[in-house]
Structure formats: structure tokens, C-alpha cells
């Protein structure tokens, strides 16, 4: 069912004769005159799709922004729909948050400006593209794609439709990470040599996920969990509650492995540090085993190396990065602590708390929704980071050095690798 025919957005209302015939008593909140109030014309109307654990974290950050009005949630799980509605209604003190099990219904609402997407990875690119096609701006959790082809389609869709996209790579707005990137980009490290990006420890999440299936269980009622919709574009497999309750990672059909899991954050910062948001490394050399330790050594066209690895870090927290130049080095991670070579310590001002990264990142997105400029983790930058991670994963899985042509978006002289750039989507889905 489409909502476009029955819902009237605020602009349409103001244009209509009804508004002219209504006695002109305008509450001060509408005009934004109450302390801290934002007039409706400056509010960003937001919907959410697939809001679970991580999504709730994101949603809290959005709800803290006074110019956001969250109006609707969509989920294939009844329990989640109701939990998010309850959280949002409690926040606003009303019962207005609408619930949907079908994302097209939410996207058809003309009053919604932007959507927060925090489903499992399998849906990220497809839903983001659908949202762009419906004229919505998107904040989407990472990883943003399952394949190289999805990454390309994502960037193409947001360019084509002129919509704003922010990947949930919030470290691009985290003080310590930004400082490290600035040291690299400003030449303080000298000529850049090697950029290191942490991946998840292979012992808890291997680079190459499993193709196995969990035991079959009876499917719950479609109203409780719509298994077909949960699977979405992924190949069919029998239902097991374990997948649905957030334990879908480490299965090939649903997950891109540990390189992509954190590489979407850490390789992303390396891409930025190397001023490579428009491209990807051209060479990928895997080493180590699927149980770790492992690394993929990647080389950019400018000679700088990107090393994706799961061990050998200084212990500065998850999602660590280390940038090395011929005049110095810097390393940081999610503890917000920073270490650097002696000559650079003067630049290490007291780092901001990493937990400010998400609110900053959300604010960056909202500002860009208003200004129509590009946020830090925009679709093009995110796509290039993800392509690099997918290419590294493919090299690791094949166990051989691969050469990549970023312009043609193909591996040079390796048909097997090229075949792994995409996966056929289950009908009726397509990108």
C-alpha cells in the first residue's frame, strides 16, 4: 500500500487552501520561538529500517538532535518494531511512531526526508539504493555492501539521484582518528610509506566466513519474523533463530568476513589519510591463515602500502590504525589514546573521547542533508573503501596476489577473482 496518496506533507499542507482557511493561531514552537525549539521547516523527518542493537545506538544519537523528528520504523521482526516504537514514543511522549514490516511503505511516505538503515549487512546496499530511488537521504550502518558490485551500485545510485549518503564509519568524525589523519595528510609524517588498518582478530572472526548451514528449525509466523524478508537478496536456507537474533556474522551468505567488518572503519581512515577517497589500492598480497594471524598487504598507485592485519598492535583499542611516513608515525584506536614518534608528540593534544565520534558523525550527516554538501563518509568514499576491503578478502580467499584496475574495476588477468566481484541476488531483488 502506498502512503503517498493519503499523507500530506507539511509543504503541501501549507500550499493548500486548507491552510489559508484555518484561523491563524500559530504556536510559538512552530515558529521556533520556544527556548531550544526548532521550527518544523528546519526539522529533518527521519524513518528507520532494521533498528536492532547497533541501530538503537545510532537512533539515540539522532534523537538527541533537536532538529530531528523520528516518525516511523520498519522491521521484519515484530519484536523489534514494537521495541523501537516504544523507545521513540517514550522519547516524544506520544504514540505517533508508525510501524511497518514492508520497507516500500515507509519509503513511499512523502513526509520522510531521510532514513537510518541498520539491518544486517545483506540488506545495506539494496535498501540504501531503494531509499535513494524514493528521494531519501540515507545514514547506513557499515559494512555498506556485500560485494564490489554492490559498492559500485551504491555510489552510482547516490550520484544519479543526487541524494546524501553517510556510511556509519563514525571514526571519520572521531577526534583522535581525525588528528591522526590530519598528521598524515598535512605532511607531518613526511612522505607516507605504510598505513596499517586493524581487522577483527581471526580467532573470533575469520577473514573467510563459513558456507555451512545451521540446523533447520520451524519457521515462526510471518508476523513474528518474516524469514523470507529477513533473507532478502541472500540465498535461501532453512530458518534458525540464531541468525535472526543477531548471530548471522561469520556466514558467507550474510557476511563479508573480518577484513570488511573492521576494514570498513580502519581501511577507510587509511584511504582518507592517503587522499584516496576516489580510488583503491592496485595490488593485494595475502599472508597467514584463516585462523590468524593474517595480513593482506595492498599497494596504492602512489607506492604507499596499506596493511590490513589482525595482530601486532600497540593495544590502543579496537579499530586501531597506524600511519607511517619517512619522518614519523602515529597510532591510535578506540581508547582515544594516541602514540607517535618523538618528533610528533607536540601535536598530540589531549584527545577527545572517542564516544563523541557518533554524535559528531550524525551531526555531519544532518548538516549535509540541509546544505546538500557531501558528508565525510559519503557514498563515493564508502564505496571505494569497501571495494578495497572486498578485493583484499578475495585475494585472501584465493590465496594469491591480485592486481586490480580501479578504473575498469576489474582484476587484471584473474577470471576467478573477477567472478567474485558480484553475487546473484535472490529473486525478486536486484541492484
Amino acid at each position: 500500500m502506498s502512503h503517498t496518496s493519503v499523507l500530506v506533507n507539511r509543504r503541501q499542507f501549507l500550499k493548500s487552501g486548507a491552510s489559508a482557511a484555518t484561523p491563524l493561531i500559530v504556536p510559538s514552537s512552530v515558529l521556533g520561538r520556544q527556548a531550544g525549539a526548532v521550527p518544523p521547516s528546519d526539522r529533518i523527518v527521519l524513518g528507520g529500517i532494521g533498528i536492532g542493537n547497533r541501530g538503537a545506538y545510532d537512533l539515540q544519537a539522532f534523537l538527541q538532535q533537536r532538529d530531528v523528528q523520528f516518525v516511523a520504523v520498519c522491521d521484519v521482526r515484530e519484536e523489534r518494531r514494537e521495541a523501537v516504537k516504544s523507545m521513540v514514543d517514550k522519547h516524544y511522549g506520544n504514540r505517533d511512531c508508525a510501524v511497518y514490516s514492508e520497507h516500500y511503505e515507509l519509503l513511499a511516505r512523502g513526509d520522510i526526508d531521510a532514513v537510518l538503515i541498520a539491518t544486517g549487512d545483506r540488506w545495506h546496499a539494496l535498501l540504501s539504493i531503494h531509499a535513494a530511488q524514493h528521494g531519501k537521504d540515507v545514514y547506513c550502518e557499515k559494512p555498506c555492501s556485500m560485494t564490489i558490485a554492490e559498492s559500485q551500485a551504491l555510489a552510482e545510485a547516490f550520484r544519479r539521484y543526487g541524494r546524501i549518503y553517510q556510511a556509519g564509519c563514525q571514526r571519520r568524525n572521531g577526534g583522535n582518528f581525525v588528528l591522526a589523519v590530519e598528521l598524515a595528510r598535512s605532511g607531518k609524517l613526511g612522505k607516507l610509506r605504510t598505513l596499517h588498518a586493524q581487522t577483527v582478530d581471526a580467532r573470533s572472526m575469520p577473514p573467510v566466513p563459513s558456507h555451512d548451514w545451521l540446523p533447520a528449525e520451524p519457521e515462526p509466523s510471518k508476523l513474528v519474523v518474516d524469514w523470507d524478508r529477513w533473507l532478502g537478496p541472500c540465498p535461501w536456507r532453512p530458518y534458525n533463530h540464531f541468525y535472526v537474533q543477531g548471530r548471522w556474522r561469520n556466514y558467507f551468505d550474510f557476511h563479508g568476513g573480518s577484513i570488511l567488518e573492521w576494514g570498513s572503519h580502519t581501511a577507510d581512515l587509511c584511504q582518507w589519510a592517503n587522499d584516496s577517497d576516489h580510488t583503491q589500492p592496485i595490488e593485494y598480497v595475502p599472508e597467514g591463515s584463516n585462523r590468524g594471524p593474517f595480513a593482506v598487504r595492498c599497494r596504492y598507485a602512489n607506492g604507499v602500502m596499506l596493511v590490513l592485519r589482525d595482530s601486532g598492535w600497540l593495544g590502543l583499542g579496537s579499530c586501531s590504525v597506524r600511519f607511517e611516513g619517512d619522518e614519523g608515525w602515529v597510532e591510535t584506536g578506540d581508547t582515544s589514546k594516541m602514540e607517535a614518534s618523538e618528533n610528533l608528540r607536540e601535536f598530540l593534544h589531549p584527545p577527545s573521547d572517542y564516544r563523541t565520534a557518533l554524535p559528531n558523525h550524525v551531526r555531519d550527516f544532518l548538516n549535509c542533508v540541509k546544505s546538500r554538501s557531501q558528508p565525510r563518509a559519503n557514498a563515493q568514499a564508502a564505496a571505494n573503501t569497501h571495494i578495497a576491503c572486498h578485493a583484499a578478502y578475495i585475494a585472501f580467499q584465493l590465496g594469491r596476489k591480485l592486481t586490480w584496475d580501479p578504473v575498469k574495476a576489474e582484476f587484471v588477468g584473474d577470471e576467478e577473482a573477477n567472478r567474485m566481484r558480484s553475487r546473484a541476488m535472490r529473486e525478486p531483488w536486484r541492484i
Binding site: A56, A132, R160, Y161, H211, W213, W262, S318, A424, R426
Partner: protein, 245 residues
């Protein structure tokens, strides 16, 4: 100090209160054991002839055939096409068959998918159309043109999307004509496909035709997101440093 950290998979150190699950629905701490019949390693390490044989084996399980299809996507050649194509009519395995067929470079895969257009209906037909579009099979244009008028709206939308991806002058004409006679969601799909088609025309050097298609899409009766996108893309094409001058 070196460390191998064990941290949450989403990379965040602190998590807020999540929507609360009912106790009975909470995730188990450990994953269930993988049943022997759902272990994939042996199948994934098989060579292509063995995988093809598995697809032909009436005793092989859905799991075995599914994994064989996925592996053939990487290593299967022309020889694998008939066995994969035979599964395109199987409701449980049709997607796996396409998973295997889509990346096979040999034109035999296109022939098999085109042939399947006459054999399947509903969602399976949508899947076959999607794969033909993904492969940009220009030989499928005539068949897709007919499907653009299908009474099944999902089939018609898929045909439109495939024509858009294949692009070219004939596809552009078909989509432009389709825009005049379709309604509702099918028309929205035709409009979105026309945008993709126009980009293809520009990439193929058919600049005037591509820009003309954008112009068509700027009409007030075209769905607003596509109309705005056509304006946006026209502006980008007309201001590009790589434009013809």
C-alpha cells in the same frame, strides 16, 4: 606491547540500551552444532566435474546442490551451464542456479537464461530477467520488450530494469514508449530504468540521445525522484569537462 584484541564485532566499545528482547528470544551464547549434512567444506573443495555430477545426482540434497552452484560460480565453465540451467525451473534451487550461471563468462550462460524465459513464471521469471539484465545480454532485448507488457507487475518491472542496464538505442526507444503506456509501480520502474539507460547511452557516445532521454524524464508527470535525478544528471553531463565541445 603487542596485543590481539577480542572486541565486539561492530567495533564500538560501548553499547546503549538496545530494544529489549523477550527472555525466550535471547540469542544463545554458543552457536548450535553444524549437522554433518550441512557442512560445506568437502563440496567446496571438489573440482568442477564433480560438482556438475552432484547437480545431476537425483540423490543429492538441496544443500549439496546449493553449495555446488555457489562453487561453480567461481570455477564453472561452459560444461557447467546445462546442469545449472536445468535447475532454473526448480523453485528451491533456481536462485542458486543463477548464482552459478551469472558470473560464467561463456555466452552459453546467456543462451541458457534466455531459453529459460519461456519455461518459468512469477518470481523465478523475475530472477531470470534480473540475471539477463545483470549480464547486459543485448540478444534478450526483444524478449524483454514483450515482458515489459506482462500482466505480472513484478515481471514488467524486472524487464524494464534489465532494458535499462542493457541500454542502447533500441532499449531507450522501448523504455520511452513504455513510459507512455505504463502506470503505477511499473511506470516508476520504467522511469528509473530510463535513467540508467540514458547513462549507458552517454557512456556509449550517444550523447544527444542520452540527453534527450533525460529531457523526457523531466516531464512533470514523471515520478519526482526520477525527474529530479534527470535534471541533476543533465546538469552533470552538460558541465562535465569531458563533454563534447
Amino acid at each position: 606491547m603487542q596485543s590481539r584484541q577480542r572486541t565486539s564485532t561492530n567495533g564500538s566499545q560501548q553499547q546503549p540500551q538496545a530494544p529489549r528482547a523477550a527472555p525466550a528470544q535471547k540469542a544463545a551464547a554458543r552457536p548450535p552444532e553444524i549437522p554433518p549434512e550441512f557442512k560445506a567444506d568437502a563440496i567446496l573443495s571438489s573440482d568442477a566435474p564433480a560438482l556438475i555430477q552432484l547437480l545431476k545426482d537425483p540423490q543429492a540434497s538441496v544443500f549439496q546442490k546449493a553449495k555446488a552452484c555457489q562453487r561453480l560460480a567461481v570455477i564453472g565453465g561452459k560444461d557447467a551451464v546445462p546442469a545449472l540451467a536445468a535447475l532454473l525451473t526448480d523453485p528451491q534451487l533456481a536462485h542458486y542456479a543463477r548464482f552459478g550461471l551469472e558470473p560464467i563468462p561463456d555466452p552459453a550462460a546467456d543462451d541458457a537464461l534466455r531459453d529459460a524465459l519461456k519455461k518459468v513464471k512469477g518470481k523465478l521469471l523475475v530472477g531470470v530477467i534480473n540475471s539477463l539484465g545483470w549480464r547486459r545480454d543485448a540478444k534478450a532485448v526483444d524478449a524483454l520488450a514483450k515482458l515489459l507488457d506482462s500482466t505480472d507487475p513484478e515481471v514488467a518491472q524486472a524487464a524494464a530494469a534489465a532494458l535499462g542496464r542493457i541500454s542502447g538505442l533500441r532499449a531507450a526507444k522501448l523504455l520511452e514508449d513504455g513510459l507512455k503506456r505504463t502506470k503505477g509501480p511499473v511506470r516508476s520502474a520504467v522511469a528509473a530504468a530510463s535513467l540508467v539507460c540514458a547513462e549507458g547511452l552517454l557512456a556509449q557516445g550517444e550523447r544527444e540521445r542520452g540527453l534527450a532521454l533525460y529531457q523526457t524524464l523531466m516531464r512533470p508527470d514523471v515520478p519526482k525522484p526520477v525527474r529530479l535525478a534527470a535534471m541533476h544528471c543533465t546538469f552533470a553531463a552538460e558541465t562535465s569537462l569531458r563533454r563534447q565541445r
